[in-house]
């Protein structure tokens, strides 16, 4: 009997299509890109694919401010955006939870920004913040708050701020919706127990509501940290990492190195380093989530 007709082979035969798909879609590209990060591979010189350079790419990246500055900027961007989104989302969720009528409608309306392509959001905010024809400057001048054209997308700090605003506008609702789901699921009894135990409104929120909501916040943060860490489209459309690289973040840098400068080996090395950053963020939030979920079993 050939080996593929043996009963013990059946599970493996049945798994073969899945394994093949996994291999072609995930494993081979992963191994290949990993390999290229150890070569001096340039897109314009196909032969350089076999030019093994060991850890040279990594050594260069890790000793180069051209890499560390965008890296730090990405971490800062992540931190600012996630925190602001969390606070705004929490505020919105708490407000919507208070109203007795139209909750569902509002929840749906809240999702509108998520329905737009990030590229379109980028274009829209690029127009809003345009120094000549943008509505932001127009409004500031009409209200007499500013007398000149503010170069929102040119000044390094303001450009960073503008991009953050666009990102926050687009995705605050992720937090709001998840936190609202948490508020809907929240048992009423512990809140009442806290009131009887002597808490005022703030103490009830601080000691009971917030700890209950944190697992939901961690889910949102885990999802969003991956999104923001790979932010590319909004930045490319709004500033393209400019002016002079002052809003460059990891993925715009990697795309520039890989495609514009065609140094794909170097770009892949950078991509692996930034993947580690993403994994660290996700792992951190996931660990928080698991710790928080351990006690949520007792909520009922």
């Amino acid at each position: 009997m050939p080996f593929w007709r043996r009963e013990s082979a059946t599970p493996f035969l049945l798994l073969t299509p899945a394994l093949l798909t996994m291999a072609f879609v995930v494993i081979i590209p992963l191994v290949f890109s990993m390999y290229t990060s150890f070569t001096g591979y340039r897109l314009v010189k196909p032969d350089s694919l076999y030019d093994w350079v060991g850890f040279r790419n990594y050594a260069r990246i890790l000793s180069d401010w051209e890499f560390w500055v965008p890296f730090g900027r990405t971490v800062l961007f992540l931190t600012v955006v996630l925190n602001v989104e969390f606070l705004l989302g929490l505020g919105i969720a708490l407000l919507i939870n208070r109203i007795t009528w139209g909750q569902r409608t509002l929840r749906t309306i809240m999702m509108f920004p998520m329905m737009f392509s990030p590229i379109l959001v980028g274009f829209q905010f690029k127009f809003l913040f345009n120094d000549n024809i943008g509505i932001v400057n127009n409004a500031l001048q009409s209200l007499g708050l500013s007398d000149g054209a503010i170069a929102w997308l040119v000044d390094a700090k303001l450009a960073f701020f503008s991009i953050a605003i666009a990102e926050i506008w687009m995705s605050t609702s992720v937090f709001a919706i998840l936190l609202l789901a948490g508020l809907f699921a929240m048992p009423r009894d512990p809140l009442e127990a806290a009131k009887v135990d002597g808490c005022n409104a703030w103490q009830t929120f601080r000691h009971i509501t917030l700890p209950f909501l944190m697992p939901f916040a961690y889910i949102a943060m885990a999802i969003r940290s991956l999104d923001v860490a790979r932010a590319y489209d909004i930045v490319t459309v709004m500033t393209d990492g400019g002016p002079a690289g002052r809003t460059e973040i990891l993925w715009t840098l990697i795309a520039r190195v890989g495609y514009d400068n065609s140094r794909m080996g170097m770009a892949n090395a950078m991509a692996y380093v930034s993947t580690i950053l993403s994994i660290l963020f996700t792992w951190y939030f996931y660990r928080k989530l698991v710790a928080a979920r351990r006690y949520m079993g007792g909520a009922q």
């Binding site: 512990p190 127990a193 009131k195 009887v196 135990d197 005022n200 700890p211 007792g298």
Partner: protein, 364 residues
């Protein structure tokens, strides 16, 4: 001193009124049980005392303070909830100490009092667990510990045992009773279970449709129900109620059977009055198998339809005047369906209610 006074207390949700002007005085250190079927307003009343529901009308006093507009934290009460309402993200120690921490007690003092409460309730080995790691009975004990650790003037219990299984409920009932003897405070306890009400209460408050039907000691409510509602609600199995008309010093039932009117009710039994005869299953038994053989009685021959042996006694389903009647047989005797027996009603323990108002005739 913490007496609680309810003065014409009303609760309305919009136009719908659920508590219609309740008057009640609860003495210092008294254990009062509010009992009634679901929807009778007992929990709402308790929550108004706690401050978790607004009071739509009337006055609630705790001690000598009017508490209508005070938030719960200023009423010096603690409450045990039906679903325990523990804080899921805190361990037992933190759950117990939370109220003290909020009140700004020193950490030493908190840990001392938490340890004391834990010792009283047998929670000491569980102090570092979270609520998720506790069984139902243990969670219930933590909820009680959280209430006693703050040493409030008033304890409020909202159906605290209804999520436990029957055996545990019995144990916890006894623990609550013991706890009240140890920690003397005023207690208001809500339940729909008349057994809990009977066993725990100094005084029972029977409620129905947002009104108080009767206030009294458990034995008063059991022996002298003011209405047919209280008569059927307190006591298990419920009292048999048979409609009839007074004729010549006796109650004539639908099929013509006559039962003499008990002496104590004679003054109220004028001829032609429509009444309801109430008699508990314990007070109608086959001759020779009842609780007591002396005292006035009335005998009637009935056919057994069904018998449920419970060991030392049997519950007998029979039919009198076209209506199902429950009777009890004391003694280990097997009864067969279809068997014809002579039953004796203990008339000194029979009740008469007005057929229209449902009020006991003795209240005329």
């Amino acid at each position: 001193m913490a007496e609680i006074t309810l003065d014409k207390v009303v609760k309305k949700y919009g136009a719908a009124s659920v508590v219609h002007g309740i008057d009640l005085e609860i003495a210092h250190e008294e254990f009062v049980v509010l009992v009634g079927p679901s929807g009778c307003g007992k929990s709402t009343t308790l929550r108004m005392i706690a401050g978790l529901e607004d009071i739509s009308g009337g006055i609630v006093r705790i001690g000598d303070r009017v508490v209508n507009d005070l938030p719960p934290r200023k009423r010096n009460i603690s409450m045990v909830f039906q679903n325990y309402a523990l804080y899921p993200h805190m361990n037992v120690r933190e759950n117990l100490g939370f109220g003290l921490k909020i009140a700004g007690e020193s950490p030493d003092n908190i840990s001392k009092r938490v340890d004391e409460a834990a010792a009283v309730l047998g929670l000491t080995p569980l102090l570092d667990r979270t609520p998720a790691e506790l069984s139902g009975g243990q969670r219930q004990r933590v909820a009680m510990g959280r209430a006693i650790v703050r040493r409030p003037e008033v304890f409020l219990f909202d159906e605290p045992l209804s999520n436990l299984d029957a055996k545990l409920r019995g144990q916890m009932r006894a623990e609550i009773k013991k706890l009240h003897q140890k920690v003397r405070t005023t207690v208001v306890y809500v339940t729909h279970d008349q057994v809990e009400a009977m066993t725990l209460a100094d005084r029972i408050v029977v409620m129905r449709d947002g009104r108080i039907e009767q206030v009294g000691t458990p034995m008063e409510a059991f022996n002298h129900p003011r209405t047919t509602f209280v008569a059927t609600f307190i006591g298990s199995p419920p009292m048999n109620l048979l409609p009839g008309v007074i004729a010549g010093g006796a109650v004539r039932l639908a099929d013509g059977t006559t039962v003499p009117v008990p002496d104590r009710l004679k003054p109220h039994a004028r001829d032609g009055r429509k009444v309801t005869l109430g008699i508990r299953p314990d007070d109608i038994s086959p001759v020779g198998h009842g609780l007591s053989q002396d005292g006035p009685g009335a005998e009637v021959d009935l056919t057994v339809e069904l018998a449920e042996p419970l060991g030392m006694e049997s519950l007998i389903y029979t039919r009198l005047a076209g209506q199902e009647v429950l009777a009890k047989l004391y003694g280990p005797r097997i009864v067969q369906p279809g068997e014809q027996l002579t039953f004796r009603m203990a008339l000194d323990r029979a009740h008469l209610f007005d057929a229209e108002t449902g009020q006991s005739l003795r209240l005329d």
